[in-house]
C-alpha cells in the first residue's frame, strides 16, 4: 500500500487569526481524504495585502519568507483561492533570480484545498454527508487565476448537497482586500447584489472557498439579514463528516 502523502497546510493569516475553525475543518477533510497534514509554524501571510495596496517591495518580503517556510514540501494546500493565486500568479512576477525559480517550483506544488482534493488526489467523496441546499460563490482570484470552479461543486455534490446556482456566481462579492476598507459604500452595494442573488435561490448556505469574502458577506448579512448564511466549503463539508471527538476550546461561530 502506498504511503499516505503529506501536505503542508498554508492556513492563511485570515483563517489563522479570525476564522481558525476553517483551518481545523481543512485538516479534518484532508485527513479524511487519506492525507497527513503538516503545519509549518513559521508561516505568516502570503503578502497579498501589501501587493494590492501598491507596495510590491513589502509583498516580496513576505513572499520570500513564505518560500523559505514551505521549501521542500511535496504539496502545499491552501484553504483560500486568493492566497493560492497569490503564490501562483504573483510570486514569479514579484521575485527575481533564484527566488523567482523557487517561486515557480512552489507555485507548481501549491493548490487551493478543493482543487487539491478533486484534481490532485482524485477524491470527491470525503465521507461527508450533507442534507441541505447550497449555492456557490466563485471567489474571484481562485476562479480566474487558479481555475477553482468545478472542484467545490464536485465535493458538495458527492456529499449529497443540492446545488442551486445563483445568477452570476462568478461576479465579485465586493470584498477586494483594501477596497472594502476604502470604499465602504460600494463594497456594501456589491455584497447586497451577491447576497440578493444567493437569496433568490432559496438555498440554506452560501458556500465559497475564501474566508475573507465570507467574513465580508457575513458582516453585511448581520446588518441587513438578507441572504443565506455564508460558509466556507471546508466548514460545511466538515460538519457533514462523522463526528470523531469533541473539540474542546473550539471557538464556534
Amino acid at each position: 500500500m502506498a504511503p499516505r502523502p503529506t501536505v503542508a497546510l498554508l492556513v492563511t493569516c485570515v483563517v489563522d487569526q479570525i476564522a481558525p475553525d476553517t483551518g481545523v475543518a481543512a485538516v479534518r477533510l484532508l485527513e479524511a481524504a487519506g492525507v497527513d497534514v503538516a503545519f509549518p509554524p513559521a508561516q505568516t501571510c502570503c503578502g497579498q495585502p501589501a501587493l494590492s495596496a501598491g507596495e510590491p517591495e513589502a509583498a516580496a518580503r513576505l513572499a520570500r519568507h513564505t518560500l523559505e517556510v514551505f521549501d521542500g514540501y511535496e504539496a502545499v494546500v491552501v484553504p483560500s483561492g486568493s492566497c493560492a493565486a497569490m503564490v501562483h500568479h504573483w510570486y514569479t512576477r514579484l521575485l527575481t533570480g533564484r527566488d523567482r525559480d523557487r517561486a515557480g517550483t512552489l507555485a507548481a506544488r501549491t493548490f487551493e484545498l478543493s482543487r487539491y482534493l478533486v484534481d490532485e488526489l482524485g477524491v470527491t467523496d470525503v465521507g461527508a454527508r450533507l442534507d441541505t441546499t447550497v449555492t456557490v460563490h466563485d471567489a474571484c482570484h481562485g476562479l480566474r487565476n487558479h481555475g477553482v470552479s468545478r472542484s467545490p461543486r464536485a465535493l458538495l455534490e458527492a456529499a449529497g448537497a443540492t446545488i442551486v446556482e445563483m445568477a452570476e456566481p462568478e461576479t465579485c462579492c465586493g470584498f477586494g482586500g483594501t477596497f472594502s476598507q476604502h470604499h465602504g459604500a460600494l463594497a456594501g452595494a456589491l455584497a447586497d447584489a451577491k447576497l440578493g442573488g444567493a437569496a433568490a435561490t432559496g438555498a440554506e448556505w452560501l458556500v465559497s472557498g475564501d474566508a475573507a469574502c465570507l467574513l465580508h458577506l457575513e458582516g453585511r448579512r448581520r446588518r441587513t439579514g438578507a441572504g443565506p448564511r455564508p460558509v466556507h466549503l471546508a466548514d460545511l463539508l466538515a460538519r457533514g463528516l462523522p463526528a470523531r471527538t469533541g473539540a474542546p476550546g473550539a471557538d464556534g461561530p
Binding site: Q17, I18, E55, G176, G184, R220, G249, A250, D251
Partner: protein, 528 residues
C-alpha cells in the same frame, strides 16, 4: 471639462457614493446587459478571432512608429491631409483653424471618444462654430450637457422617461417615453443638420497602414451621413488605431462588434479611402486625418504598452461590478470602467484620475472579458505601485523619444516580461521582473500620504516576515479586540478598519488562533 454637467464629488469615492444614492441611475444601470457577448462566447463561436486579433495588435505595437509612418504615407497617397498632433490642444486647434479657414458654420459629429479626449465640440463652439452630435446616445448626453458614460452606449445611465423629459424640452412639445417615438423625433431633427453641415467629424475604429483606409462602425448610419454629405471630413484617430493591413480589419472588426454589442457585424461599416476623386459623384472634397498621440507613444516599452492594444469595445465596462454600480460619470474622465482607470492617469501624465486604479476589487472580470487579452487587473496592481504620489507619472511636454519596445513576447498570461536594456533610470519596484521595463515612468514625487503608506507596509512586512513578529502583532490585535468584550463581531469603528463598519459588522480576532489549536492538538491536549 468646460461647460459640462459633472457628478458632484472631488474623488471617485465621493462620486460613486453619489451614484449609489441616485435611484434613477441605479434603475438605468440594471439595463446594462453585462454579457451581451463575452470573451468566452467569442472563444466558443469564433475561437480563431481572439488569438489572431491579439497577435495583430502586438505586431502593430512592436513597431508603432513605423506603422504610423506607413499609414501617414498611404493616407497622403490617396489625397488625405495628415496632421500629427502631440497634444489634445494641438489636435483641437488644427480642427478649429481648419473650420475657420474654410468658413464652416456647422459641424456634424459621429460618435468618437477621441473628440471627447480633445474636447472638440467645446473648442468649436468657443470659436463660433456650431457642433452637433448625431449618434442617438451621444445626442442625448449632449442635450443633457453631460459626457458619455460608456464608450459604446453613451446614455446607458439614463432611463427612457429621463430621455423623454430631456427631448421634450428640446422639441418644445411633449414627447412620450417611447423609444421608437423618441428616436424618430431625433432622426427628423437631425436630417436637415446633416444637409446643412459643411464639416463632418468622425473618429476611426481602424486606420489601415497599407491602403490609407479609415474604417468606421456605426449602427445608426449617422457615421455614413457624416462622411458623405459634408464638404470637408475630419477623422480624429489616436495613434493606437493604426493596423498594418486592411485585411487585419477582417479579424479585428468582427471581434470588436461581437465584444461591444454582441453583433456579428454592425448595421453600417464605412470605409473611406481619401476624398472624392475626379469623376466620382459623392464624398467629401477634403479629408483630414489627425493622428493624436497624447502620451500614448511614451507607453511603448513599458508594461502599460498593453493598453495601446485596446479596441474600445467596452466589454471590460460591461462586466465590471464597480462600473455596473457607479456608471461612467463617477470616473469623471473620458474613458471609464477598468480600461479608463488605467488610461486616465497614463494619458494625463499622472495629473488626473490617480485615485481610479485604487477603486477596484481586482476581481479580474475585466481581464477575462478583454478580447485582445490585455491583463487589465494586473496593470491596475502595477499602476497602484507606480502612483505613489500625485506627482506626474509621464512628464507632459518632455519630448523624449520613447524607448524601444520590449523585445520579449508576452507570456502565456499576456503579461509582458520586462525588456532588458531599456531602463535608463531606477524605478520604484525595480528588481522585480514584472516591475521592470517601466522606463517611461519617472520616479513619482514622494508625498506625505504615500510616505506613510510605504513606511507602514515596510514596517508590517518587517514584523510579519518573522514568526515572532507575526505572533506579537496578532497578540496585540487580540488584546485590542478584547477591549470590545468577548464578542466575535462588532459594529463599532475600530482603528485600522477604515470604512469597513460603514456597511458591515467587523469580524474580530478569535480568542485562540489556529496555530495555538494546532499546537494543542500536537501535544494531545485537544482532539479534532
Amino acid at each position: 471639462m468646460t461647460g459640462r454637467v459633472v457628478t458632484p464629488g472631488r474623488t471617485f469615492k465621493e462620486r460613486a457614493e453619489h451614484a449609489l444614492a441616485n435611484a434613477g441611475l441605479q434603475a438605468a444601470m440594471r439595463n446594462l446587459d453585462r454579457r451581451l457577448f463575452t470573451a468566452a462566447d467569442v472563444e466558443r463561436t469564433t475561437p480563431w478571432l481572439k488569438d489572431r486579433a491579439a497577435s495583430i495588435r502586438r505586431e502593430t505595437l512592436s513597431d508603432l512608429d513605423g506603422w504610423l509612418d506607413r499609414a501617414a504615407a498611404a493616407l497622403e497617397a490617396v489625397g488625405a491631409v495628415v496632421h500629427r498632433a502631440a497634444t489634445p490642444a494641438d489636435a483641437a486647434r488644427y480642427v478649429v483653424d481648419l473650420a475657420l479657414r474654410e468658413g464652416v458654420r456647422e459641424v456634424v459629429k459621429s460618435k468618437s471618444m477621441a473628440t471627447e479626449e480633445i474636447d472638440l465640440a467645446d473648442a468649436l463652439r468657443a470659436a463660433g462654430v456650431a457642433s452637433l452630435e448625431t449618434d442617438l446616445g451621444e445626442y442625448v448626453v449632449e442635450v443633457a450637457g453631460e459626457r458619455p458614460s460608456h464608450m459604446v452606449t453613451p446614455a446607458i445611465h439614463k432611463t427612457i422617461p429621463q430621455v423623454a423629459d430631456l427631448l421634450t424640452a428640446e422639441a418644445g412639445r411633449a414627447l412620450p417615453p417611447d423609444a421608437e417615438v423618441l428616436t424618430r423625433w431625433v432622426r427628423d431633427h437631425l436630417r436637415p443638420r446633416f444637409l446643412a453641415a459643411e464639416m463632418g467629424v468622425t473618429g476611426a475604429n481602424f486606420v489601415a497602414a497599407d491602403t490609407g483606409t479609415v474604417v468606421l462602425v456605426t449602427n445608426e448610419g449617422n457615421g455614413r451621413l457624416c462622411t458623405t454629405l459634408p464638404r470637408i471630413q475630419v477623422v480624429l484617430a489616436p495613434v493606437d488605431k493604426v493596423v498594418p493591413r486592411l485585411a487585419d480589419v477582417s479579424v479585428l472588426l468582427p471581434l470588436l462588434t461581437r465584444s461591444a454589442t454582441g453583433q456579428a457585424l454592425t448595421n453600417y461599416v464605412t470605409m473611406i479611402t481619401g476624398p472624392r476623386r475626379a469623376g466620382e459623384l459623392d464624398g467629401p472634397e477634403q479629408v483630414h486625418v489627425v493622428l493624436l498621440d497624447h502620451n500614448r507613444r511614451r507607453l511603448l516599452g513599458t508594461p502599460y504598452e498593453e493598453m495601446l492594444a485596446c479596441i474600445r469595445c467596452g466589454a471590460c465596462l460591461n462586466v465590471c461590478p464597480v462600473y455596473r454600480h457607479t456608471s461612467g460619470h463617477a470616473y469623471d474622465s473620458v474613458y471609464t470602467g477598468p480600461m479608463g482607470k488605467i488610461l486616465t492617469p497614463l494619458l494625463s501624465g499622472g495629473e488626473e484620475g490617480c485615485d481610479l486604479p485604487f477603486a477596484s476589487t481586482l476581481c479580474g472580470a475585466c481581464t477575462e472579458a478583454c478580447p485582445v487579452e490585455i491583463p487589465l487587473a494586473d496593470l491596475l496592481v502595477r499602476l497602484r505601485s507606480d502612483l505613489r504620489g500625485p506627482g506626474p507619472l509621464v512628464r507632459p511636454g518632455s519630448a523624449r523619444r520613447p524607448p524601444p519596445p520590449s523585445p520579449s513576447a508576452p507570456d502565456r498570461l499576456g503579461v509582458p516580461a520586462g525588456g532588458p536594456g531599456s531602463r535608463p533610470r531606477r524605478l520604484p519596484g525595480e528588481g522585480y521582473p514584472w516591475w521592470a521595463g517601466g522606463a517611461a515612468l519617472p520616479s513619482p514625487r514622494r508625498d506625505a500620504p504615500y510616505g506613510r503608506r510605504r513606511l507602514g507596509f515596510a514596517a508590517w512586512a518587517a514584523l510579519w516576515s518573522t514568526p515572532a513578529g507575526y505572533r506579537l502583532g496578532a497578540a496585540a490585535s487580540r488584546a485590542g479586540a478584547r477591549l470590545l468584550g468577548r464578542t466575535r463581531w462588532t459594529g463599532r469603528r475600530v482603528p485600522g478598519s477604515g470604512e469597513w463598519t460603514v456597511t458591515r459588522d467587523l469580524p474580530l480576532p478569535a480568542a485562540r488562533p489556529f496555530r495555538d489549536r494546532w499546537a494543542a492538538r500536537e501535544s494531545g491536549v485537544e482532539r479534532w
